[in-house]
Each structure stands twice: as C-alpha cells, then as structure tokens.
C-alpha cells in the first residue's frame, strides 16, 4: 500500500472545537433500489429467467407456424383463432405461462434476492453502510417485483411481435366470441398482463419472505413454487370448493374478465384484495424478520 509520506491525509481534518462528525445526507431508498437493479443486471442468473420468458413465445409461434391447423379441434377460442390474428398469441402465452413458468421466473429472483447476499456475506457489507435495514428490504422487494414485471411484459411483447409477424395485426376474438379491433385488442393484451401482475407480485412477496427467513436461495425458490403447487392441489380437492375463490392460484385467471363483452371487472377487484391478503402479511413478516435478524453469514 502507498507509503504514509507520499499520500494525503486519509480522513478530513477536523477544526478545533468543531463537532467530529459531519452529518451527510443519507442515501434514499431509491438509490438502494437503483443499485439492486444494477446488481440484477450484472448477474447471469437474471438473464436465465428473462431468456425463458422470451424464448417460449418464439418456440410456440414457430411450432404453430409449422403446424397444419386444418381439421384440429381447438379447445380454446384463442387457439382456434390463432392464425386469424397475431394478437391471439400473447393471450395464449399468458394462459400457458401464467400457471407455472412466470411464477417460477419470479421466484428465481425473489427467492434469491436476500438469501444469496446472506450466503455470500455481502449483506453484512451493505448493512454496515448508511442505509437502514428497512430501506435495504424495500429496495430488494421492489427490485424483485420489477424483475417479475419485466418478465411478464417481455414475454407479452415477444409473443405479440412474433404473433403479429406471423399472422398479422388483425382484429381479435374475445372469450365471449365478440370481435374487437386490433388496436383495442393490443390494449387488452397489455391490460391482461397488467392484471396478471397482481397475483404474480403476491407470489414475489412470498418468495422474498422465504428468502429472508430461510437464508437459502434454493430452498426459497423451491418453497415458493412448492407453495403455488400446493394451492393448485388444494383447488382440486373435492369438498374444498368453498376456499377456491380465496386461493392465490385462482387469481392467475383474474384477467379473463377483461376479454369478455361486456368487461367483467369483478374478478380483478376480487383478486386485488385476495392477493393483498397473501402479499401484505408476507411482506410485513419479511420486513420484521429482516429488521431483527442476526447477520452472521459470510
């Protein structure tokens, strides 16, 4: 290291009688959030999930392009009209990916975002700076939710572009069988994905909670997906029909109401408060655990 004689003082001189501390402006949660995003951008793992979100619509479109659609009995109205309009593709992709793939992609980051730092010892590095634990937790939660949002809209964008490129920007059918214009259809595709984010962000909140409490990335990711699968199983158990409307997984279809004529807003309103019942306690519990936890890793 540099010799003492050659370098300037390592600390600022303190004037006689002056307080020995200079109160600097503390960093905002937004600053911590920006750096959480930069960390995500710098990690290969980030692109694994986003790559899946982007490549699956391309595989789907390619497979449908090569397939002979005549004579096939399509069980879904959008599947039946897939070659009529490219806008049917993002709707179908949302149907397919919303059940397992998008929750998995969200869990990949949410389950890792605290646990990985704990395991690597970097949590102690950032918690001995000038940001409070609450700010760090908020920044990490927001970053995980941002990632889930990007994954959903990336998948939708790729599906839309690939679908439109293959089958044109045409008017599209709804679940009710009515036809909407292409611009209106595009808006509905965007809105449907936005509505789907409501339950997906609740899944993300559960991932962050598990990441905070288990301190193990793999356990958190598997635990989050395991929770989703558990709810699917519960929804299929005879005699438990009464709890079905309150299961998080049932909210994955909240956007269907948007694609009906007239628009059915009730499922969206219902999913908003049901998802809040899952997300808010998870986030609150995660926050409390994060505030009081011992950071002994690394």
């Amino acid at each position: 290291m540099s010799s003492a004689a050659a370098t300037p003082p390592l600390t600022p001189p303190v004037a006689a009688g002056a307080p020995s501390f200079v109160h600097t402006r503390r960093p905002s949660t937004l600053t911590a959030y920006r750096w959480e995003l930069r960390k995500l951008v710098s990690q290969k793992r980030t692109y694994l999930g986003l790559g899946l979100a982007a490549i699956l619509p391309l595989i789907f479109v390619l497979a449908q392009t090569l397939r002979n659609h005549r004579g096939h009995d399509q069980g879904n109205i959008f599947a039946a009209h897939i070659t009529q309009s490219g806008l049917a593709t993002p709707v179908l992709m949302l149907l397919f990916l919303s059940v397992f793939m998008l929750p998995l992609i969200a869990a990949l980051v949410a389950g890792d975002i605290v646990a990985a730092e704990d395991g690597n010892g970097t949590l102690k590095t950032i918690l001995t700076r000038s940001v409070d634990r609450g700010q760090v937790f908020a920044a990490k939660t927001l970053a995980a939710m941002t990632y889930a949002t990007i994954a959903v809209f990336l998948s939708a964008a790729v599906a839309t572009i690939a679908g439109v490129a293959s089958w044109g920007f045409n008017s599209v059918v709804t679940f009710s069988g009515s036809i909407v214009t292409a611009p209106e259809g595009l808006l509905l595709v965007f809105a449907a994905n936005a509505c789907y984010l409501i339950p997906l962000l609740a899944v993300t909140a559960i991932g962050v909670l598990l990441s905070t409490t288990t301190r193990n990335s793999a356990a958190s990711v598997v635990g989050t997906i395991g929770f989703v699968i558990l709810l699917f199983i519960i929804s299929g158990i005879p005699g438990l029909e009464g709890v079905k409307p309150y299961l998080l997984t049932e909210q994955f279809e909240n956007w269907h109401g948007l694609l009906r004529t007239p628009t059915d807003w009730a499922p969206i309103g219902h999913s908003a408060w049901v998802c809040a019942l899952y997300a808010l306690p998870a986030l609150f519990a995660g926050y409390l655990v994060f505030l009081r936890r011992d950071v002994a890793g690394g």
Partner: protein, 318 residues
Amino acid sequence: MTDEAPPVKARGLVKRYKEVLAVDRIDLNVRAGDVYGFLGPNGAGKTTTLRMALGLIVPTEGTVELFGRDPIRMGARALEGVAGFVEAPRFYPYLSARKNLELLAALDGGGARERIPEVLEIVELTPRAGHRVGGFSHGMRQRLGIAAALLRRPRLLILDEPATGLDPAGMRDMRELIRRLADEGITVLLSSHQLPEVQELCDRVAIVDRGRVVYEGALADLRRQGGAGYRLRSTDDARALAVLRAQPGIEHASGGEHGLSFQAQEPDVGALSLALARADIGILALTPELATLEDLFFRLTETNGAEPEMPVGAGVPA
C-alpha cells in the same frame, strides 16, 4: 450522538445461541484515539462481539454504544463515522472493484463517490479497479475492504483480522496503514491473531477467552503485571547464577547460552547488583525484559477453564 462519548462502550454483552454461550457479559471501553487490540483464541467470541458492535447481530443481553449511539436501536445512524469489516470483507464477485466501491459509496451518501480514486490509490488497487472482484486474491480483497472502509471517512475503524492472508510485505503495509490512520486521530479497534502486530500497534487491549474478558487495559500495564524479567551477562556466569539463587527476592533464575535470566522487583535488583560486586563478579549487561504479549496471552487463555494465572489488569473490570 455526543462528541464526548467514547467510540465504543459495551456493557454486559451476552450472546447466546440456544445452548451455546458465545459471549458472556463482555464490557469494552475503547477511548478516543486508542489503537485497541481485541485478542482471543478462535471461538472466544471476538467476531460475535464485533458483529454486535456493528449492529449486525442483536445481543441477548447488554448494550453496546458507538459514540453514544446504540446500533441496534438507531440502525445506520449509529454507524455514522464508523467503518470496518468483520471476518473477511465481502464484495460482489460479478462486479469490478470500482463498481463495488461505487455501490458502497452510493449507500454511504455524501461525497464518498468522489473518494473512490483516492482510496483505490491508497490500497494500490488502481490498476485492477476495472477487474471483477471474483478474480481477486484474498489479500486484494482485504485491501479492497480497507478502501471500502476509508470511503466513509471513519472516526472509528473496526478491523477484524485485517492482515489475515496477506504476504509479509502486505502485512507490513497494513501495519503502516493502521499506524498512519491512528496518527491521524482515528480510533482503531483491531481484532487480530498476530500478537507481535498487536504489541507493535496497540496501546490498549482486551483479551477474551471462552466468551469473557480476562483482561482489559493498557498493554504496558499488562506487561508490567506479567512480571518484570531481567537478563544478566557477567564476567563469571556460573558463580553469578549461584549468587542469584541465594539472593532473596530473585525468582526463576536460570542460565542459558546468552547469559542468565531471572525475575525480580526493582529494589531486589539493586540489592543483587551489590551482592554481585561483593562476590567480585563484574556486570557486563543487566537489561530488563518485559513479558511479551504472546507470553501473557497464553498465560491468560490457556488455563483449561481455571481462573487465569495472572490477576486481571489494575482498574479493569473483567
């Protein structure tokens, strides 16, 4: 925060993990300007204590204050003017050294970011600043840890084994840097296994064993309490040894290749010199030798659960 408050004041710190008592009622008093050595065998509770001081883990009992501020209650506000690391400093391996420092500077606020080139220069990492930390050696990470600490312009620096893993030149440079920081008025709390390093750098020490402080106070006091030793070279060592053994107040007299050694209080040494003269033995050299920190450390910590052989430091609640 009060400027008069000591940099570190811990009272009755206890940390229990289920059945394991990691820290058992530790008191620490680090004064402004101290270079304070925190010593103990592996598993003695040093790192746990430092983690509590930095607010990383919550004490089961007791309190710790940094400049009068409790890091558990006040969070990051209590760490204003405080920097350092516990165990090995950790960074994001997928980011470069500079990006890591930019991240930490962003989380520090103020003008920390502007100091990045300067601190990289201090730890001689400027040529590697653009390289990913994942490829850094242990020593380079230690140096980056120091750089990250200096970004905060600390008044109190907490360093846990900063020289671990460094080569001899790196250790020397680290010692020089710590000395320089201390000369600039920074209080340093240094946990180290390098006892010669602590002896060279520190003016006050706390020695912990099995979670308890067995000594806290001035290093010079500890060495004095360890018993004053003397080395004697004479014109006739064989006869001088006989005189030593016969002389009241002289203990542990023994001969060796490089003269004689013994322990005694100062008045008894005066009487001894007269006795040697009466025996017609010339004194070639009579030099006091304080016990080394290493001797004292082992005496205090290798007691197999019994009370330490030495009394604890004067005025030191241990």
